[in-house]
């Protein structure tokens, strides 16, 4: 069975102007949203207290809010979490010394006010210093990842490809952050993990394409760089789609079956895989092309039989 059996080479690069405008618009929108709306940082980063409780019957949020207010928790944010019986209460940081005791206090208040047995599902308390440190570390981790990858790709391929793939990664990360900013989805540690996984996935795609471009530069004679990129993208297109499909399938399973706790994680990855697939076709190759990749850059000085140096390692 074949989903895509392309006889002709698709002229991907002829749409590059449209792709350029499209990407630029999305990136500007993301930056604008990040600058104005910022990210809706979760507890991990902001610090504070979160209490998730389970009720036996559907909870009345208005009543719970009133109860919290009368008990001195005016800043409490009360929301449903996944179902109408699960409620999440968020409290900001306090100056009280006993901040870490807050969770149990709230639990007692709820128990007393509703008369129902309240099931403590989880309590999280994060101090202010931890959140700041984490935000710093998270940003640092993404930068380190990008730099390490840049070095590896530059070492294995060519600096033009390295720049192309890192621009593509930057593009993917920015758009995913933009999505979280525009929709004001909660950005917590698992989402940060998902973004690093997006980096991994998108890179995977980009490398497959770059690898083919390199191969075709060596194999196909008398062709323009643009033509070779088109040929390579066409050849790898069917693989790109199949892998995207299988990954999207498992992510859909996570999204629908994984529960509230990893909803943000699944959302970030689902979106990331979409833009990652797009960026490996357009962004990475386009950047390499614009930087003037040519046959001479990729043909090794000593012509060797392809893969001759790897035979020994072959399975």
């Amino acid at each position: 069975m074949q989903i895509l059996q392309l006889k002709e080479t698709v002229n991907f690069m002829s749409y590059r102007k449209i792709a350029l405008v499209f990407s630029a618009l999305l990136m500007i929108a993301s930056i604008a949203s990040l600058a104005t709306n910022k990210l809706n940082f979760g507890l991990d980063f902001t610090g504070g207290t979160l209490i998730e409780v389970g009720f036996q019957e559907a909870a009345d949020l208005e009543k719970l809010r009133a109860v919290m207010k009368t008990n001195g928790f005016a800043d409490a944010k009360v929301q449903f979490y996944g179902s109408s019986r699960d409620v999440v209460i968020r409290l900001g940081l306090r100056d009280d010394v006993k901040a870490e005791m807050l969770g149990n206090e709230v639990l007692d208040v709820l128990q007393g006010a509703t008369g129902q047995t309240v099931d403590m599902r989880r309590i999280e308390f994060v101090g202010a210093s931890v959140g700041d440190e984490l935000a710093e570390q998270g940003g640092l981790a993404m930068l380190t990842a990008l730099i390490c990858i840049l070095i590896y790709v530059a070492f294995r391929f060519e600096w033009r490809f390295a720049v192309g793939s890192v621009v593509a990664l930057f593009h993917d990360v920015l758009l995913t952050l933009g999505l979280f900013s525009i929709l004001q989805l909660e950005f917590d540690l698992t989402v940060l993990a998902a973004i690093l996984a997006v980096i991994g996935y998108s890179l995977n795609d980009t490398i497959v394409v770059s690898d083919r471009i390199r191969e075709n530069f060596r194999k196909v004679r008398n062709s323009e760089a643009e033509e070779i990129i088109n040929i390579s993208l066409t050849q790898t297109l069917s693989r790109t789609f199949i892998t995207s499909i299988t990954t999207l399938l498992v992510l859909a399973a996570l999204f629908f079956q994984g529960g509230e706790l990893i909803h943000g994680f699944a959302t970030a990855l689902l979106f990331g895989v979409f833009v990652g697939t797009y960026s490996s076709i357009y962004v990475a190759s386009l950047v390499a092309l614009s930087l003037g990749i040519s046959k001479e850059d990729l043909i090794p000085e000593v012509i060797e039989k392809e893969g001759a140096d790897q035979d020994a390692m072959m399975p």
Binding site: E52, Y152, T190, G200, N204, V208, D211, L251
Partner: protein, 615 residues
């Protein structure tokens, strides 16, 4: 011949998958509820403990599946959690304070599997339920205390050598001594230089000042010591909590992670972690009549305390020295190879000790350990009531006038000396700690997370399975075989690596790996189809397909591995779990989808004349 694996290669692939499967099997046996009894403060559970536990359980008509003495702990397995909970209460009431009774889930791994190191995957707190704390050591305070110590040490040293000074003060990161005369400055400098090799001394002749700065090395040592000391103390306290398999671990430069699986009463845990312990040295009241005191006639200037075996002693009420003067305590051996504890005091403590022992040589001195333990009672406001517990941890005869450093011998075995040193250090907590992060997961949420995670893995696996079979037919089945082997290997490797924990994001990592692992096979299969279309023979196409795809697969996976490793380095708890499964998954999937599928493909289609390939 093309596409034939030598037998050893096929066998090797089969072996690796079989080993993975072997270590993955403990998961299938599950776990049973158990009660774990372990000794506190140097006491070890022994055969007698085992017998008394057995007797008590039989007396209460509680049936148990098995009972065994392992590593100084008695582990009793039960058939259901109801019996387990009842047994815990029974044992807790009857065993006494020197034992901690903890609930536990013990794997039912058969003994032959356990002897080769087979054990089920460790579940993270988000799956098992429990509480984790992140505590921060106040390093500023640690450095501050060191500086205060330096100030009083300097004063004492200069006074003893009769060097006159105007003032000794602490400044930021250093201690400044102002002298009256240039000769004093010089004498002071040479004295301090000799005594404190880990300080940087600088002088200013115009203002007659000497500045002593701690070296980077010294600062690092202070921080390291503060962290290690806190970890030791917390370990001790956590053991008293009666939690099976607690984890106390340093994280970074000033944080300590504490994981208490299964603990729901976080209030009690916190109170115990925050509780303070101190040490006091008192003279033994030898003139008092012990038997009278035991009958309730305690002399006015004395108190009656007991040691851990319940032996009473009458001590003077006046405290000779409190534990906050202790700067260090180490266990070691004396010249006759007897265990001893070396104690160092700050200079104020040294002079107190010196004047306190001067006229009491030959008399016994007791070391008292004071701890505030949480009780089950609460006061009117719902705060837990603390009980002050005092216990004599050592009685030793004063051999000579003691000073800044002295030693206690006759504390018993080497282990007991070590324990004493530990307790003495606990009396001198140099840096306070605060809880900066706390996460509690209830048992219902934990169980729900396990269910959701498994369902997501099964569903994702099923979807990819069907897709591959429909799309690639026979080759799809081969890829699915690799996928199954990959899953088994991930579980096997996770069980084998000590410290690898399965968390909810970790399960998400497994799901993601399933989706991405087929990529390698897609690359290979697409390449084979391409080669066939270009007119190569079937065998050449298979060979070329694997060959050409190999370097791409390596490059693509290594870069993902870089991202995963960075995540591992910065992540904590659940997120670290994600990095672990992702990294393991990348490595195992490379093996199964390249080497594994090749072995199957070679065995079925290799080395034959074929017209068509079911791809």
């Amino acid at each position: 011949m093309l596409n034939k694996y030598p037998l050893w290669k096929t066998l090797m692939v089969a072996m690796i998958v079989a080993i993975g499967a072997l270590y993955a099997t403990p998961m299938l046996y599950g776990e049973s509820p158990a009660v774990q009894v372990s000794g506190l403060r140097g006491v070890e559970a022994n055969a007698a403990t085992l017998d008394s536990i057995k007797a008590q359980l039989e007396e209460s008509n509680l049936s148990f599946a098995s009972i065994a003495l392992e590593n100084g702990q008695v582990l009793t397995r039960f058939n259901n959690t109801e019996d387990q909970l009842k047994a815990r209460d029974v044992l807790d009431d009857n065993l006494g304070k020197e034992f901690s009774v903890a609930l536990n889930l013990t794997p039912n791994t058969p003994s032959w599997l356990a002897t080769i190191g087979g054990k089920p995957m460790k579940l993270g707190l988000d799956l098992s339920g429990g509480v984790s704390f992140l505590m921060e050591v106040n390093m500023k305070e640690a450095i501050n205390k060191a500086k205060i110590g330096m100030v009083s040490d300097f004063r004492g040293d200069l006074r003893n050598e009769k060097i006159r000074y105007r003032s000794v003060k602490e400044a930021n990161n250093s201690v400044v001594v102002v002298f009256r005369k240039i000769e004093d400055l010089e004498a002071g400098q040479s004295l301090l230089k000799k005594r404190y090799r880990d300080l940087l001394l600088s002088t200013d002749d115009d203002t007659l000042t000497l500045t002593a700065k701690m070296t980077e090395q010294k600062l690092k040592e202070i921080r390291e010591y503060a962290l290690q000391q806190n970890i030791t103390i917390i370990r001790n306290r956590v053991n008293e909590l009666g939690v099976a398999e607690p984890l106390v671990q340093r994280q970074g430069k000033k944080h300590i992670v504490i994981e208490l699986p299964g603990v729901q009463d976080t209030a009690k845990a916190k109170e115990i972690l925050n509780a303070t312990a101190t040490i006091e040295f008192r003279l033994v009241y030898t003139e008092g009549d012990l038997s009278n005191a035991l009958n309730g006639r305690i002399p006015a200037n004395s108190i009656l305390l007991k040691d851990k075996d319940g032996r009473p002693s009458l001590l003077k009420k006046r405290i000779m020295l409190t534990g906050d003067h202790i700067t260090d305590a180490k266990s070691g051996f004396d010249e006759y190879s007897r265990p001893q504890v070396n104690i160092s005091l700050d200079s104020a403590g040294g002079s107190k000790m010196s004047s306190g022992t001067k006229s009491n040589i030959g008399k016994p001195m007791a070391t008292v350990f004071i701890e505030y333990k949480a009780t089950d009672k609460k006061d009117a406001e719902g705060n837990i009531i603390f009980e002050k517990q005092q216990e004599i941890i050592s009685v030793a005869t004063i051999q000579s006038r003691l000073g800044k450093t002295f030693r206690i011998t006759g504390a018993g075995s080497a282990a007991e000396a070590h324990n004493l040193a530990l307790l003495l250090r606990a009396g001198a907590l140099i840096a306070p700690i605060t809880i900066v992060e706390e996460r509690t997961v209830g048992p219902t949420l934990g169980a729900e997370n396990v269910r959701l995670g498994f369902e997501a893995i099964l569903m994702g696996f099923g979807l990819v399975f069907i897709f591959m079979m429909v799309y690639y037919r026979a080759f799809g089945v081969v890829a699915n075989l690799a996928l199954g082997a990959n899953l088994v290997l991930i579980v096997g490797v996770m069980s084998m690596i000590p410290g690898a924990t399965l968390t909810l994001p970790g399960m998400a990592g497994i799901v993601l790996t399933v989706g991405m692992a087929v990529d390698a096979n897609v690359l290979i299969f697409e390449r084979i189809s391409e080669e066939i279309r270009e007119g190569k023979t079937i065998q050449q196409a298979i060979h070329q397909g694997y060959d050409a795809a190999f370097s791409t697969i390596i490059d693509a996976n290594i870069t993902t591995l870089i991202a995963a490793l960075i995540l591992f380095a910065i992540g904590t708890g659940p997120v670290k779990g994600f990095a672990v499964t992702l990294s393991i998954g990348i490595i195992t999937s490379m093996f199964t989808s390249v080497v594994g599928t090749r072995a199957v493909v070679n065995a079925i289609w290799g080395g034959k004349r074929l017209e068509k390939l079911p791809i």
